[in-house]
């Protein structure tokens, strides 16, 4: 746990091999095509979750390899993860609340004609 400055034994950063950079890039492009392609398939409400899951995978690739998190101090990953965690708390609780009271404030004619 101690990060006292004397224990920097891993030198200065990790040098990424070129094949890895290109491989990650190819994967990112693949997932971009995938996420666009999947919009042509109707998965109902699952579409958004598929899109978000693909985004998370892409984000993880960028974080782990382009941003060196995989080879970095784990604390840096912890910072990133906790940022998303707190964001989830924020969005989750706010969303839960508006979801609860929305029906009380929406005018009657805003009932959805067809569900997207």
């Amino acid at each position: 746990m101690s990060h006292a400055h004397t224990n920097d034994d891993h030198g200065m950063g990790h040098v990424s091999p070129i094949w890895m950079l290109l491989g990650v890039f190819a994967l990112l492009i693949f997932f971009t095509v995938l996420t666009v392609a999947v919009t042509y398939v109707d998965l109902g409400p699952a579409n958004i979750w598929v899109a978000l899951a693909v985004a998370v995978v892409k984000g993880a690739l960028v974080g782990l390899y382009f941003m060196h998190l995989r080879y970095d101090s784990p604390f840096n990953s912890l910072i990133l993860v906790s940022a998303f965690l707190f964001l989830a708390v924020f969005i989750g609780l706010a969303l839960m609340d508006t979801g609860e009271y929305q029906s009380n404030i929406a005018p009657p004619d805003s009932v959805r004609p067809n569900s997207g």
Partner: protein
């Protein structure tokens, strides 16, 4: 963050041997790790700041699904995908630049940084083209938006019919309608079509725009104009599909005059073989009158999210320009590449945020 990077480049005023070691650090590695830690903490603040917008987005999309589905029609999936690729490529060159700096490859470093910078330029240019397409149809943020209602009445009755026509047309034509000409991706049915009038900023599109003018001129009262345009829309549906696609959207056939007004749309849309029945087509008349008053909110959120992101791209470009200047002076090498690495982290975060913005804004289903 600029100053933070400058700081890690602080030559300090101590008496250390290492030229880039600030006086309050003991080793270059300690300084390097501190700089990275600082940048990661800063990135966390960026994520939470954008998070506020994502929260607003989630709540409004959750509460006004159809409004979002409708407004999203103004966006261009292929431009969005192109920009994603551009930004991913610039992330690759940035990561490569860090590698070049670590290995002391001066020329490669400068080249990669310039490539990254150009990626930023490309992104902003495409964003500009997209913005212009919105602005040509009065789809501004806030009160200037064509869909803005004030006291139950449209604030811009003269702009509203065009905007409705634009989005209805696009929603019917799908992304083929707008994305065709410029997008590099291969599965575009309209790729080899000579006409793609609705491509943002295209001359042909301007013609279509003009041809729609008499409609609003002829029918002064906006209520009428709205009904009029809406009744024209199902005609397009029939023109495209040959048969009603969705019974609920079908309205009585329009008069020949109406058909004339929308000729350009029909002609052009008629060329398109619709690739996807998966998308629910939402047209203006499918929205309740209450929902119609909220369409401008989608554009408010769209512009805030992409605008703040674009601002970050610009800041990142300034950072990279600064890195290029430093690299040309030969500042960076095997022993000292922290600013490249840390500037890179910032650039990757801008990419990371776009990775989430793209499906949420451009791939609404």
């Amino acid at each position: 963050m600029t100053s933070e990077n400058e700081h890690t480049g602080d030559t300090g005023h101590g008496d250390n041997h290492h030229p880039h070691l600030a006086h309050h650090f003991e080793t270059p590695a300690q300084q390097f790790e501190s700089g990275k830690l600082g940048m990661w903490v800063f990135l966390a603040t960026e994520i939470l700041m954008f998070g506020g917008l994502f929260c607003a987005y989630a709540i409004y999309r959750g509460n006004h699904q159809d409004v979002f589905l409708y407004g999203y029609g103004a966006l261009d999936k292929m431009w969005g995908a192109t920009n994603t690729v551009v930004l991913l490529a610039s992330s690759l060159t940035m990561a490569w630049a860090v590698r070049a700096a670590q290995k002391g490859q001066q020329k490669l470093l400068i080249g990669m940084l310039i490539a990254t910078f150009m990626g930023g330029v490309g992104f902003m240019v495409i964003k500009g083209v997209e913005y212009k397409a919105k602005w040509d149809h009065h789809l501004f943020p806030g009160t200037m938006n064509a869909f803005y209602y004030e006291g139950g009445q449209p604030k811009h009755p003269e702009a509203l019919p065009h905007a409705i026509e634009y989005i209805d047309g696009r929603n019917l034509g799908g992304e083929a309608h707008g994305g065709g000409g410029h997008a590099p991706a291969g599965h575009e049915p309209a790729e080899d079509s000579p006409q793609h009038e609705a491509v943002p900023g295209d001359d042909a599109h301007a013609a279509e725009h003009t041809s729609a003018e008499p409609a609003s001129a002829g029918v002064r009262a906006e209520q009428n104009a709205t009904a009029h345009l809406a009744s024209a829309s199902p005609v397009i549906v029939q023109a495209v599909y040959g048969a009603p696609a969705d019974v609920s959207t079908i309205k009585p056939p329009a008069s020949p005059a109406d058909m004339g007004v929308n000729d350009a749309v029909i002609d052009q849309a008629g060329e398109v073989s619709m690739p996807s029945a998966a998308h629910t087509q939402i047209l203006w008349n499918d929205l309740s009158s209450d929902q119609q008053k909220k369409v401008h909110l989608f554009f408010g959120i769209y512009f805030l999210m992409t605008g703040l992101h674009g601002l970050h791209v610009l800041i990142g470009m300034v950072l990279i320009a600064w890195l290029i200047l430093k690299a040309k002076k030969g500042t960076f090498g095997k022993d000292y590449f922290a600013p490249v690495d840390i500037g890179g982290l910032y650039w990757h975060l801008v990419d990371l945020i776009w990775i989430f913005l793209f499906p949420l804004l451009y791939l609404i289903h």
